[in-house]
Symmetry: C2
Subunit: 318 residues, 2 copies
């Protein structure tokens, strides 16, 4: 049983349930070359059926344990589930997600679960692009639910969450103070709150604060009131109710037409990403030519100013 | 004493030492419109003399206290100092820098110190662009040293540090574990390490680990060995030695020609930023036209695929 190298065959085999082919397909997407384009063109018409959920929260909030519980419950409903864990880009908060992946390995024997980590380091804007296209591949491979987990500590991670239809923000009682300051930011991205480790002191206080803020900042002009769920993922408490709220949000999206709206906003971002990536490659090439080197030198010597130089460079790249 | 509205007069007044004009100038840069371009063209030839230092590290490492000490010492050398504090983009780690700014207020009566916070929320890639241009304004306003402080938790913050000639990474003994995992990432961005709160247990262990890693991964083919400084910013211990190492690094950059090399790499990024920002505005405009709306709808209906749609969109934007 070899892994096909032709993109069309590879996609067909990944869709038939062959995990090695799916893994290879995603690796090719991550690798990002001319072939990626071809793969996406082939995948795209096959997509659009999966539910995409985003999960974020501060390090140590128990996101992975919660994801683990949700995966188990979705499997009990006989749904195919994929988990895409996006590792944070910062050197200061790495490692945690990778470590947690090991815990998820109990699902590896289950052919209805697929888990993939994507790393951010050295990728800059490219990561959100790769993540989006990985989700396309998983959607085409007929996963019912794709869970995208990020550490949520930077703009890249927040950008990535735009691909999700439903965003779950996981908090812990200790995070109460910091959310005080920036609660508006949380309200913007969250569709469902989970207050995890809710057996700890201060959990009720955090829940009350969140509920009060949800009341002040209702989503979508009052039509979706963000629920606040108390969970203890480690003991599987409150997780059924959380799952129910996520499913309610999905139903709400369908009924209200917001699903299409979100999908279009996401596609717009995707178009931008494609064109920015193409422009960067083209500019890199121009800056290596004699004209490009001279231009950079003139800019450095302050013989020309940045916007003027950018205009010239853009002309050279055409 | 009114604030001039003409960019040329505003710049002249900011350069003459008028703080209200400098603040207005930076606000106009942050605002980002057609005028920004004009301002930068005027500022650019006036820049190139300032030293730009970047300071990063995990939340709670004591970066602001350290910055505070460095500012005081630089003032004692009669140098004009500006601090640009870039607030983290994540809702989970906001606030800290803003709170610390209050502590810095003791410098506000000193006309040789200027402190400015820049926020990231909702700005996406635009923040690093605004930060770079704010540094240009401060450089033109003849500050001798510009300290750019970031929380260092995401790609945006790491991008911002590219504008610094010397990057100081501040760690605390407790961060020992996490750096184990990603130490390569720290080595890449750091020119000087400060192990702060070094009276705590485990400080020597962290110093030893860092020194060992510096030995394994020397900067610039052995020519700059990253120093590891023990500091207790709260008690002003070790901070003179840290300052000395930063000054040594600046001398090294001058002598080795690396300063010009770094400046050119930074200018290249600046050109990319300018062109990407311009492309985004142009695409946003096209997507609002009838043709743009139709294209997005066709993409949503899967009548065309993303790369094909991007190509069409790019043609419409030309």
């Amino acid at each position: 049983m070899s892994i096909p190298s032709d993109p069309r065959e590879l996609i067909a085999k990944a869709r038939s349930g062959d995990r090695a082919s799916l893994a290879r397909l995603i690796s090719r997407i991550e690798y990002r070359n001319e072939e990626t384009k071809k793969i996406i063109e082939l995948l795209y018409p096959l997509t659009g059926k999966a539910q995409v959920w985003g999960i974020t929260g501060p390090p140590g909030a128990g996101k992975s344990t919660l994801v683990d519980r949700l995966v188990t419950k979705l499997r009990a409903q006989n749904k195919k589930v994929a988990v895409v864990a996006v590792d944070p880009s910062s050197p200061f908060s790495g490692g945690a997600i990778l470590g947690d992946r090991i815990r998820m390995q109990k699902h590896t024997a289950d052919s209805g679960v697929y888990i993939r980590s994507l790393g951010t380091r050295g990728r800059h804007g490219g990561l959100s692009h790769s993540t989006k296209e990985t989700v396309l591949a998983l959607d085409a491979a007929e996963f019912d639910v794709i869970l995208v987990e990020t550490a949520g500590v930077g703009q890249t991670e927040l950008d990535i969450l735009k691909l999700a239809q439903t965003v779950i923000v996981v908090l812990v009682p200790e995070s109460g103070d910091s959310i005080q300051v920036m609660k508006a930011g949380l309200m913007e991205i969250s569709d469902v709150f989970a207050v995890n480790k809710s057996d700890r002191p201060e959990a009720d206080k955090l829940v009350r604060e969140l509920v009060a803020n949800v009341g002040l900042n209702p989503h979508d002009e009052h039509s979706w009131m963000i629920p606040v769920c108390k969970t203890e993922a480690a003991r599987d408490i409150g997780t059924d109710a959380l799952l129910q709220e996520i499913e309610n949000h999905q139903k709400y999206l369908e009924k209200s037409g917001k699903k299409a709206e979100k999908a279009k906003a996401f596609l717009k971002e995707e178009l931008f990403d494609i064109l920015i990536e193409a422009m960067k490659s083209s500019l890199e090439a121009v800056l290596k030519t004699e004209g490009g080197v001279t231009l950079l030198e003139q800019l450095y010597q302050k013989e020309i100013a940045p916007y003027e130089a950018a205009k010239i460079l853009s002309g050279q790249a055409d």
